[in-house]
């Protein structure tokens, strides 16, 4: 990916690149293990709630 800085007078290529970097990662599909983790956390909490104190 290439970001030219001659597009507009106050275009900041570093700021643009940082945003692109962030947005690129944030737009990746979330790996399944993240959602599995949430499920596991919820299940574990439910199991603990069932156990008599």
């Amino acid at each position: 990916m290439r970001l030219d800085n001659a597009v507009e007078p106050d275009f900041d290529p570093i700021a643009a690149a940082l945003r692109q970097m962030h947005d690129g990662i944030a737009s990746e599909p979330v790996p399944d293990d993240f959602l599995s983790l949430l499920d596991q956390l919820e299940e574990r909490m439910a199991e603990k709630a069932k156990k008599p104190s």
Partner: protein
């Protein structure tokens, strides 16, 4: 699964809203983590650990307050703890950065994403995290100060120094801020106005 989950005493069921907030923050949490440590696998480990710690500490989160700042703070704290233990994540090498800074300026006025990613990892972590929070993630100075646990002035100075250093690493010290027309950043973060 980590110890963070074991600390969960099941005191209070999480609301669906809490889970939704956690799920919704995953993309930007991964981006923040990857910017901090520069490695996809380690970043995802960091993000998952932060999620587990957030879950375990969910009773301490006050609904209606800034969820992103809260969980970023958790991730950041875990990151700093981890880099103290794990040399793989301490990418900051002052001598290496110095060698880069004295290289001839690049003879081009364009930058590549990979250059920015590599240069970012050469910065002191305190400056890197400010560029990630404000410049990349669009956090306000106030939010960045809350996450990093520092004063507003510290945010601004770290941001300004980080930006200058990043430009110098990418372009060489003489090119610095991409010339006189680069003083007014547009868009999120208004990075170069932070000096």
């Amino acid at each position: 699964m980590s110890d963070a989950v074991e600390q969960d005493g099941g005191r209070k069921p999480p609301t669906a809203e809490f889970r939704k907030q956690l799920q919704d923050i995953i993309p930007s949490l991964r981006a923040f983590a990857r910017g901090l440590c520069g490695n996809r696998e380690l970043a995802d480990d960091l993000a998952q650990e932060a999620m587990m710690r957030a879950w375990a500490a969910r009773d301490s989160f006050e609904p209606g307050t800034n969820f992103r700042a809260w969980i970023y703070m958790i991730l950041r704290n875990h990151f700093y703890t981890t880099i103290r233990k794990n040399a793989r994540m301490t990418s900051w090498d002052p001598e290496a950065a110095e060698r880069i800074l004295i290289q001839e300026p690049a003879q081009q006025h364009a930058i590549h994403m990979s250059d920015v990613e590599k240069a970012l990892q050469q910065l002191p972590v305190e400056q890197r995290e400010m560029l990630l929070l404000v410049g990349a993630g669009g956090a306000s100075y106030e939010e960045a100060a809350e996450i990093a646990g520092c004063a507003l002035g510290t945010v601004k100075s770290r941001l300004a120094r980080g930006r200058t250093a990043l430009a110098a690493i990418i372009n060489g010290p003489d090119e610095g801020e991409f010339g006189e027309n680069r003083q007014n950043a547009t868009g999120r973060g208004a990075m170069s106005s932070a000096a």
